[in-house]
Symmetry: C2
Subunit: 730 residues, 2 copies
């Protein structure tokens, strides 16, 4: 590809971004779109409904960027939780690291590359991009030390920044644990695989076991019930409410009980079965909490945080498959449907999921290979001879090679997150945050493999398969491919990177739905249908992928760095804006995404160093190769040190911290209050039907109000409804 | 190799074994060798010293085999500890599994192999061994299902037996924990990396930390002191004692204090330094337990077992590198010298050791390749033309191809255990049993790589290196090599296997030393210099290696099975005899070797299945290949199940078990007694000098008396002296 083609691509994207961002700044001012662009704010505080017509509403303005920039970290922490801050730190880390690298590489490495060979330089726009990469440096050049030095600067800067970020986030995590208001999940242990004792209910078993062995610390417990019936009832109740709501409106008056107007299945069955279902039925009459419906799982409440952690750290009985304990997720984080999965299936499910993900990853090779073929125009016109005429036109050729491949790849990639989320659901995680993190890791592997490696190493499926036969050649293969593939990655950064940010800020799909609803279905009432939690599982891998691309290309083809830096800077502002305005925090993993970020960055660094080793080998520079090897070793040692120093604190809470929190609460007398809260914190039971339809709001409106997200029945219910919607939308 | 050569080799070995076993049965009856062959018995009970001359003493008898056979498992457990029983179970498992396999393979697979091709069969002795292997079956033969069926029988039998053994050993381990007398190590936590507080000794820090956070359960603690001075003093004291002992004898009278006769360095320095060192000095005067000598490590004693385990399971503070806790090893198991290694070095030491072991593994390729060259006579005679004449003689050719390679390999292999033990020491394990287990794993990897893989795949060093370039071809390469290399493994089983058993029972090196001492140095007094603990780190990998060889060759070349079965049966008897008579149990890991055995066996099974897959591929039998793939998957799933079901119980003790033990002790009132014992269980201080030389025994005699191995000062000292000797001898 020539500089001209790159500039075409950059031009298209800059124009697109500018248009979309301006459009966004107008659309967000329209009252009808408030539900799309201010979902979080709407949910937490009532925004002034300002329907007046004034000119400013139709003039694009950059004020939103300014507002996003001005928000402090504490604000982000309060609004988006620790995970949002970690995501912000990832972007800040990327900006810092790549700024340092860019300064050196643009001003030192780039000229070395450009003048690396004695050749006649054309004017820059028609110069091939390869001229700016390490490919242009002649073999055994004495200027290769600049690349080696660049590698050192990059590694030291990245490791140093990583260390301070890890330290900072570990400290934040500690503060997050100690300073947050009393959290019922700190006192609660989830017990699974309770053994069946004949003539005794699971509940009795739990009580007997914990009073026997944790007598002094055991407070009470609560069983988990088969949730299929519960969920069916809940969903039907929702539908009924919705039906009533969309029926004749009567302002703020309390509606009649939904049962009276019901016609959905489960209610019918219910009325037929129980016979006595009438006007005043309450869910407790249904006897869902009977011993027959008990799952062999329970939430056990302890008197102190420390006691709860002790119970999770111990092997309970000699059979490790019984009485399995773990810290309970927060109430609004629980995936109730997965709680009834027998614990002994878990290992099988895990293996099956890993295998399924791996198979999916390899099946995906087919579209990726097709995309890769597009960059080789001659191949394409040979396969489809009728395209020959069109492809000869310069502008089309530029678009096809510079733009189309990434767009197609991006479209295919949209199918990945739902698949991986499905796999993670099947895996059996009991919390939403854990499931999202698991999906994040899967998508990360997937992206790095399919976007990075396959694009770098491929050409055709066959050549990829033969790759597996030669392990030793991989560094050389990578070294050959990376500098020449840098072109593709530049266009990828432009399309997938910049455009994805524009799409993110535009919220195209919700916007479209909202428009259809308002202007075609003529439904003028706001609904919080599109309230979503932050999609860490797609955004973290995306940003990390650009990190991988950036590190591997930085020294080889530094021309990519400005594009990436621009991406990271825009991403910083855009995601801040989204966290502040759009996404709702319902659950929080407490910074658990950072170890993923850290490991991926170390992986990219080592990968870069190995590739550089290969390149220096090809360029016959033994000194540069020799200096690279200690760098690889030091990077790996640094990683191991961080793993020892920081990681355990991300996995478990320290005894000292917990004991001091317990003491503080005991001294201030809040412990008794917390104990009372605990009893109702993890209720699986739905709301009483009257309550559900009581107010004028829809169930979604009501239960997704984050003010209601406090430990209690409504909180967990809220979440159940919210996330059900969220799953549908991702 | 022909059947004749194999029989020559077998003949030599059978003769050698018979001679050595007979010799052993005579030698063990000689009173002068009692110290070599009945070390353990001598140490535990006084054997009748029977110096009369009678004819029976010089007649070989198999009575020892009978006695070894008759010992019950409880006896082995009482004498050798759970580790000895696990080792026995490994042998029993091998015998059972290979018996089942042998019955099928000898009677079904072997005839199929022999008549696999339409060919003229010679008379059996001059028949090539390849005729009995799968190589002789023609491609696409419909008889290959027998091999596939054999594979199924083997896998099912091995997995079934493995399951029951794992279950049995897990149960035994539980009984070992619950039924053993109160063990101070159950109440003790080793704390490392105690942070330095200015103006406060480590001891004060420990006291403050544990009274603060574990106030109700904390009993007391004991610091670890810099042991370099201590050890120097101890060693010198020993030397002095020895000097006195070898001086003029005066029966059983108490000797004068060793300090009076001293002339070794540390005592001199000491007397010069302190000025007041006289007759009645006690070690406490030396002020070794001063805060200046404190290491940042301590033993913390808890009131109950449960509390101690809780303290080890928790992360103590937010910094995971401080206040690191683990269960304390038993007093006689502690490696005091490693306790003073700073904890923050541990991860670096671990990495360095792994790297060093890996490098050592690859450097070892050189002798192995040389050995492998010996089996290819033509190559050898080309390299050394002057050997051409000798090598043409048939008997020499038989010896060289059938016997010499294994002998040379065996000699080289003798250098491995001390090296690996050294690596494991450097690694920084704080207990001897842990160090031995770590060495065991290293030697296992080493053996399987160097004896199995390199022999199978090699020919020359260069061809081994090129192996790394083709990952996909490995199954095919293995499939090609295994049947033809089965010959080498047969001779290896004969030499390394059978002969090693004969050497083991003869205890050649101790015997030689004893003879030299008695008949050349004319030192008639018995010394327990050769008291040793069981060398699990060499014997477990040896037996497992034969397991790997057995499984991989069983279906391909079943002729190896009778030799292996004979080896396992002999090993069963020989090791029983050695456990009963020779080796002393000083420390015990509580069956922790079984997971190693289990994993290695699963590895061998999967390896076999992969090789079979390759063979069936070469033989063009898609049905057999197709049936092998589900077998591989099931074996891996079985392994994962066992890992979930049994492994955690080998890593941690269950809360239920510990609490019940605590309650039992509290009810019976022994808990107070145990608490008193705890105070003196982990004494690093040496004995008072008078005590050390008081009795007529040498320090070794005294302190290695297992009756003295009870929690207390002497126990730990005993061990320090004993193992110091043991290290020298391995």
């Amino acid at each position: 590809m020539e500089v001209g083609a790159l500039l075409t691509s950059a031009g298209i994207n800059i124009a697109l971004c500018a248009v979309l961002f301006s459009l966004y700044s107008i659309l967000r001012k329209q009252p009808s779109n408030k539900i799309v662009y201010f979902g979080r704010r709407l949910a937490s505080v009532c925004l002034r409904s300002d329907d007046h017509f004034f000119l400013e509403r139709f003039v694009p303005s950059p004020s939103w960027l300014l507002r996003a920039w001005e928000a402090s970290e504490d604000e982000i922490l309060a609004i988006g939780g620790l995970d949002a801050v970690v995501f912000q730190r990832l972007l800040i880390f990327s900006i810092r690291a790549f700024s340092i690298v860019a300064i050196f590489c643009i001003f030192v490495v780039l000229p070395v590359n450009y003048y690396g060979k004695d050749m006649q330089h054309k004017n820059i726009p028609s110069e091939s991009l390869e001229v700016f990469s390490i490919e242009n440096v002649k073999s055994n050049s004495r200027w290769l030390w600049t690349h080696c030095f660049g590698l050192y600067i990059m590694s030291i800067a990245a490791c140093g920044l990583l260390y301070f970020e890890y330290k900072r986030i570990a400290k934040m995590r500690l503060a997050h644990v100690t300073r947050s208001p009393p959290n019922p999940s700190h006192f609660t242990v989830l017990v699974r695989s309770i053994p069946w004792t004949p003539g005794q209910s699971y509940s009795d078993s739990v009580k007997r076991f914990f009073t026997d062995y944790y007598g002094s610390d055991y407070l009470s417990h609560q069983m988990v019930y088969e949730c299929s019936i519960l969920h069916k009832l809940m969903r039907d109740a929702e539908k009924v409410c919705h039906l009533i709501k969309t029926g004749p409106m009567d302002g703020s008056d309390p509606r009649p009980c939904c049962f009276c107007a019901s016609s959905t299945t489960s209610f019918k069955i219910l009325s037929r079965e129980s016979g006595s279902v009438g006007d005043g039925i309450s869910f407790t009459d249904l006897n869902l909490a009977s011993p027959e419906n008990e799952c062999p799982s329970a939430f056990v409440f302890f008197k102190t945080r420390y006691a709860a952690v002790v119970a999770t750290r111990m092997l309970q009985t000699a059979n490790p498959m019984l009485w399995v304990t773990q810290m309970a997720p927060e109430a609004q984080d629980i995936l109730w449907s997965n709680l009834s999965i027998p614990y002994r299936q878990m290992w099988l499910r895990k293996i099956a999921t890993i295998l399924a993900s791996a198979v999916f990853m390899f099946i995906f090779l087919v579209p990726v290979t097709f995309v890769q073929g597009l960059t080789q125009l001659d191949k394409l016109s040979r396969t489809f001879p009728f395209l020959k005429g069109i492809l000869k036109k310069e502008i089309i050729s530029h678009v096809v090679t510079g733009y189309l491949p990434s767009v197609i790849l991006m479209l295919f990639l949209y199918t990945v997150p739902p698949m991986m989320m499905l796999f993670s659901s099947v895996e059996g995680h009991v919390s939403r945050s854990r499931r999202k993190r698991s999906a994040c890791v899967k998508i990360l592997y997937f992206t790095i493999w399919n976007v990075f490696f396959v694009n770098v190493l491929s050409g055709s499926v066959i050549s990829q398969l033969s790759l597996f036969t030669s392990v030793r050649d991989i560094p050389t293969e990578l070294a050959k491919a990376i500098p020449s593939q840098a072109t593709f990655f530049m266009t990828y950064a432009l399309t997938s990177g910049w455009a994805s940010l524009a799409c993110e800020v535009m919220q195209l799909f919700p916007l479209l739905c909202n428009l259809i609803k308002k202007f075609i279905l003529l439904d003028s009432e706001d609904s919080s249908y599109w309230l979503m939690t932050f999609p860490y599982h797609t955004e973290v891998p995306r940003v990390l992928l650009f990190g991988v691309i950036g590190f591997t290309c930085a020294v080889m083809a530094p021309l990519i760095l400005p594009f990436l830096l621009f991406y990271f800077a825009m991403a910083y502002l855009v995601y801040r804006n989204q966290i502040l305005n759009v996404y709702l925090k319902i659950y929080d993993s407490g910074g658990q995404y950072w170890p993923i970020v850290h490991n991926t960055t170390i992986f990219s660094l080592v990968l870069t160093q190995i590739i550089a080793l290969g390149v220096f080998g090809i360029k016959e520079s033994p000194i540069a190769s020799g200096f690279t090897i200690p760098l690889i070793i030091s990077t790996l040692l640094f990683n191991e040190y961080c793993r020892q120093r920081f990681l355990p604190a991300f996995r478990k809470n320290a005894a000292q911290v917990l004991i001091e929190m317990d003491r503080r609460d005991e001294d201030s007398g809040t412990l008794r209050e917390i104990h009372q809260q605990l009893q109702s914190a993890y209720s699986q039971m739905p709301l009483a039907p009257r309550k559900l339809c009581d107010s004028g709001k829809t169930p979604q409106d009501k239960v997704c109000d984050p003010e209601a997200v406090k430990p209690g029945v409504e909180a967990s219910e809220c979440n159940a409804v919210c996330d059900y919607k969220i799953e549908e939308s991702t």
